[in-house]
Every structure is written in C-alpha cells, then in structure tokens.
C-alpha cells in the first residue's frame, strides 16, 4: 500500500522543512519514500507544493488528481486550489490562516469567504488547526510549520517514531525548545 501526502502553502511558510522532517522520519520507519518539491519562484510568495509518497516500493514521485490520502494546507485558499488532489474519503488538514496574494491585495481578485464551512460540508475528514494562534502563544509564529508537522504525524498515525531528534537536527540550536513545544502542540490537535 502506498500513502500519498500533499503539503501545500505559500512560499516562506516552511512547507519544505516540514516535508523534509516528515520524509526523514518515514525513512527511519523503513519505508521506501519519494518526495517531490518543485521550487523555483517559491521564495517570491508563490504557491508551493510538496508531494510525499511512501510504502514498500514507490516509483513515481508525483501525486495525481484524486490520489492524495492526506492534504495539509498551510494556508486556507491553498486548500481550495489543491482540493481536486484529495482522494474521496481522504483527510484534509487545514491551517486557519490567510495570506492574501498580490492580486487580492490590489483588489483585482477576491479572497473567498466561508472556506472552512464549505470544505467541512464536502469532506468528512477535515481537521482545522489554528497553527498560527498556537505558534504565537508558544512564542514564535514561524513555528506554525512544526505545529502542522505534529498534526500530520498524528493524522498519519506515526506517533510511534521518536521525532524529537529529527526535529532537533533540522532547526537552529536556539530554536529547538520552541519547535519541540510546537510539535507537541500539533500532536495534541
């Protein structure tokens, strides 16, 4: 059985670090893992995606329409954009957080209202996470991505692995404590 996980967000939100830690964990658990991240213009505030596939033997690194067992949206409207990738019956983790793109900022396009309600109506398994709020309470809004890592680990049932070391290896020494707190908070979501 192959599991497909899609992380979507906005350049600068740290999706790549989250997927890096997640995929390292999957390797430790003994899975064959492929992860695909297309970055180029990512730093410039564009929409970014990372695809992770794991199982006994994985060929393609890409996830196709309707194949993602889990979509983790780091930003609300990105969940709408990538919704067609989610498998019927799959799980959506959605960060209750908005980042307006430039066309929205300058009034050329609209940021839709009622995203959470709309998606909750359609999808059975929706987990809304206030990662920004949690991260801010912990003391650093930039740890949102690690809060979401926690939520992902829980949703995928991977709590049995010792994630602490992996997180420590991947964040600056002085931010280790706060990131571990963020991870625990995410696990509790």
């Amino acid at each position: 059985m192959i599991k497909n996980v899609l992380l979507v967000g906005v350049g600068g939100q740290g999706t790549i670090l989250t997927s890096k830690i997640l995929s390292s964990g999957l390797v430790k658990l003994g899975y064959d893992v492929k992860m695909s991240e297309i970055h180029g213009m990512a730093q410039r505030g564009g929409s970014v995606t990372t695809q992770i596939r794991y199982g006994d033997k994985v060929y393609s690194p890409s996830i196709c329409t309707g194949e993602a067992d889990l979509v983790a949206a780091f930003e609300k409207v990105e969940a709408v954009r990538w919704l067609p990738q989610l498998k019927k019956g799959g799980t959506l983790i959605i960060n209750d957080y908005e980042i307006y793109s430039l066309p929205v900022l300058i009034g050329k396009e609209n940021y839709p209202d009622g995203i959470l309600e709309d998606l909750q109506d359609r999808i059975k398994e929706v987990k809304v996470v206030d990662a920004a709020g949690i991260a801010e309470r912990i003391g650093n809004i930039k740890t949102q991505n690690i809060v979401l890592l926690g939520a992902l680990v829980k949703a995928l049932g991977l709590e049995k692995l010792e994630w602490t070391e992996l997180i420590k290896e991947n964040v600056p020494a002085k931010l280790q404590g706060i990131n571990l707190k963020a991870f625990q908070a995410g696990l509790g979501c």
Binding site: Y59, S62, V80, P103, N110
Partner: protein, 607 residues
Amino acid sequence: MLKYLLNEDEKELYQTGGDKTMKIIMTGNEAVARGAYEAGCHVAAAYPGTPSTEILENISNYKEINSEWAPNEKVALEVACGASIAGGRALAAMKHVGLNVAADPLFTIAYEGVNGGLVVVTADDPGCHSSQNEQDNRLYAPAARLILLEPSDSQECKDFTKLAFAVSEKFDTPVLLRLTTRVCHSKSLVELEDRLEAPVKPYIKNAEKYICTPAIAKLRHVVVEKNMLLLKEYSENSPLNRIEWGAKKTGIITSGISYQYAKEVFGEEASYLKIGMSHPLPDRLIKDFAQGVEKIYVIEENDPYLEKHVKSLGINCFGKGSIPVCGELNPEIIKKALLSAGGETGYTTGLKAPSRPPVLCAGCPHRGMFYTLSKYKDAVVAGDIGCYTLGTVPPLSVTDTVICMGASITAAIGMEKIARREGRKTKVFSCIGDSTFFHSGITGLVDVVYNKSNIVVIILDNSITAMTGHQENPGSGKTLMGEIAQVVDIEKIVRAVGIKEENIRVVDPYDLAATEKAVQDAYGAAEAFVIISKQPCALLKSVQKKRAGLSYAVDQKKCKKCKACMKIGCPAVSNKNGEIKIDKTQCNACSLCAQMCKFDAINKVGE
C-alpha cells in the same frame, strides 16, 4: 554501482568502492554532487540556474573538490575542459538554456576528447517550472557526438555520475548527464559509498588533440565518428540499458523520470526497455525487445527523441501520437493517453482560489526603480531574467520583452535602431541584474558604446544572484567555497567601456526622489546612459539583521485611504475592508510606502 560494470576487469577501471548499506534520502541534485565526490572529481564549475543550482551548492560542501560559480555557463564549461585536459576529473553543471550558452566549447571539446573524465550536467525543465522554454537537451548528444546518460531517480543520479567519469576516460569523450526538474528536485533513497581518490593524470602536451585548428579538427572528426561505433557497442552491452520482462502484450521503451511513471501505470502488466544510456542508442537491444512484445509504446517527455530512433529502425511504435510533446508528464497523463482511462476524481468546490503569482518581495530594492519607470508610460523597457522580471506583474507592469539572459541591453539596441529609423519618439530602456550583467550584459554594453546606441541601461545591482536563491557572484565579494573575493566593480566596467561620466548615475532605489531624478536625466539624454541602481537584496541575512525588528505602520487617524501606498505593489501593504494595513512580519522597513504617502500617515516603528 557494481551492477553497471560489464565484467570483473572493469572494477579497477571504474574504481568503485565496495557497496555500502548506509541509505539516506537525497534529491537528484544532492546525489549528483555525492557521485562527483565519490568519483574523485577535482574541479567543478557552474553558473546557477533552476533546477540545477543545488548540484554545485552541494559539491561545495566537499572540500576535496575545487568548486566555483563561474560568471556564465560557457566559462564554467571551459574551466572544466581545461581541468580535464590538465589531467583532473571535472564537472560542469547548468540548466538546459545554459547549455546553449556553453554550446560553443561543447561541440569542440567533443572532438578534442578528455584527459581526466569530463562530465557536463544539463538540467532540463519540462513544464517550464522556472524557465523561459522547455527545450529537450537530449538532442545535443547526437549533434555534438556525446555520450548521453539519463538517470531516473536519485540512486541513479549518483551511480550514473560516477560511471560518467569512468566512461568519459575510457572512451576519451565528454559525457552529457541529462536530468529533468522532477529528477533534480525529487528525493529518494541513495546508498552511500566512499570517495575514491582518482589521482590527477599527468599532463602531456598533445597538439594533435587539443589544438582544434581546421587541419586537426578534420582528423579529429574522423576519430570521433570511429569512437561512436565503439560506444554503440558499449551501449548494446551496458547494464545501463536493460530489459525488464513482464507481460509481453505491451512493451514500453522509456528513459529518465518517464520510466518511473510508466512503472507506476503499467506495473507488471508490461515489459520495459529501460534506457539509461540514450546516446548512442543500442539498436540490437531495441530490435530484440521489439521482437519479444506485441505492441510498443515509447514514453518520454518533450521531444520524440527515442521514438524517432525506434521508428528509424523500421519498428512500429506509438508515442507522441497521443502523449503530449508540451509540458511535464505524470502517471495520470500517461494513463489517459495510452489506456484511455480517466484518472481518479477528487473533490470539487464552487469556491474559486485567487491566483497567487510570484511577486517582488516586501522591501525588494527593484521595486523603487520599477515604480519610477512605471510613470514613463511611453517608454519601452527591454527586460531580462532574474527577480526583476517580476517588474512585469501589476500594478507595476513595467517590461516589454524578455528573451534570454543578457538580451535586455542588446534587444534594446535593436529596438532603438528601428525607433530611430522610423522617427518614433520612444525612449528605450533596458533593465538587467548584476549577475546577469556579469553573465552576458557586458558585451551588450560594449555594443551600445561601439555602435552609438542611445538607450538607457539600468543595472539593478542587489549584490547577489537572488532569483536562484542567493548565490555569490563576481560583485558579491565571496566565492562559492566561502572565500573572500575581490569585488568586480560594475561602475568601473561601465566607465571602462566608454559610457561618458556625465551619463552615469548611481542611485539608491529606496530613495524615490533621487531615483526619479536619475530616470528623468536618462530620459532626456541624447546619448547612451547608464543608471546603477544599488541596494542589496532585502532577503540577505546581513540586511535582515540590520533591519531586524523595524517596520512601518499606518496611522489610521491620519490615513485618507487615497491608496497611493498601494501603487508600489508591495505584498506587505493590504486594504482589508477599507483599512490600509502593513503586515509587520513581511515589512522590513524599506520606507517606499512612507515616501508615497502625502499625509505622513505611515511611520517607522521599532527603532
């Protein structure tokens, strides 16, 4: 690694270490770097370009390899050629369009051959994730008579890179290693081996080989053609090309990432001819495979490179008739094309996601110059490639053309010639970044002076190669290996090529009044004019440190909602429900919005 050797004798030749079991997850680019390290590579050079950039970034972590950012790809390849001729193992890496820049040395070094192994890495970009075209660089291999290897995952990236050095030496020819974005930027498991110190070979002067004058080139061409026959034999027997028998109703010929997609779709329901060495191609093997299966599909991205070859052997096969030439493939596209099977269907919603195009970052120094230029509605601006290409995005909407790196200055020269000839009053500007200026802008500026063009050249000097993720360049004061370097002075170059002193301005684009004045002077000038717009990239660590905690905020009592501050297109400035706000997590206090405000409603906070 050992599985790619033809026989036991080759072990020594290929210098493989014992296979180790340590497996780690790596991108294709990291794996190429690791392969170069394990193969004992001595010199590596590149010019950055997505998706190839991380190859040299990773190589620079191996201090055994002397690595450098060259000013452009031609320089990088020539440095590698020289290192190879001198006896070292050398690698040059670039994105697909970079190989066009390096094509001149490429074709001739194929005649001259190598001393130390020479590997040229081209990273193609099917789907144009971050490129101006999606050319298929496999076509360079038959054109230049090169060995072509196409890895399909990270393990193969490492193995093929190692093998490439050895094959290059064995057959006295450079190897073209072709990756694609999905291979470069996907991670998969790789087994690590130790580095094997390949000693630098002695250098012996050999005029009949390394001096390609016409008389010698003619003879070398004959040698190369003979060599191709030997290589063809190697390709027939090498495990790089292998048949995987499965169900015989369907036979699939494929290479690179398409192999992974094909396996995903067809699994055991087909047989595969997996091509790892795509030039020269193994004709006998292809024929044997064709005889063993009923119907043949050729699955490849972009051009029908394999398909045309298979057809030239008189074999009936199906490929680009239904598989698209344009864009990147994936299993879903292949399913639809060959099995007429609809993919899975996911969820749909009536909500519409607004577009999220990449934009100039908050605090980007390019913004001040583009905002100023946006006021000159009748000017034509020839643009170039870099972060500043985003000057085209509304509301700035500056830039008329983008062709390739360096083409801003030169295309502007051509546009100005026509404008002048036709008596059009158009003022022609060109905008070029510092890295791009070093890459291929200087020759254009020489043409401006030499052929008396009166365009305005704006050099957007943010002291780094920003677009591709902050690589050092000749103007940044540091090398790839982290050494302090002499700063190549752009202003002095501009003077040296002959732009007159009175036609040169150096401005800080954070100062809108000064920028406006410089552009006005340039607009009115009757001769070639250069503006150097100088301010380091706002994302540089040093800059972020200096401006940490600083931002601007709107005083709602003073704000008249005139929206002047929104005209600069800064992603930190928003108008939510009629209230203008500045997002302090993004703002880094460049002050542009405050300069736009006529009511003193925007003030600095966090002094």
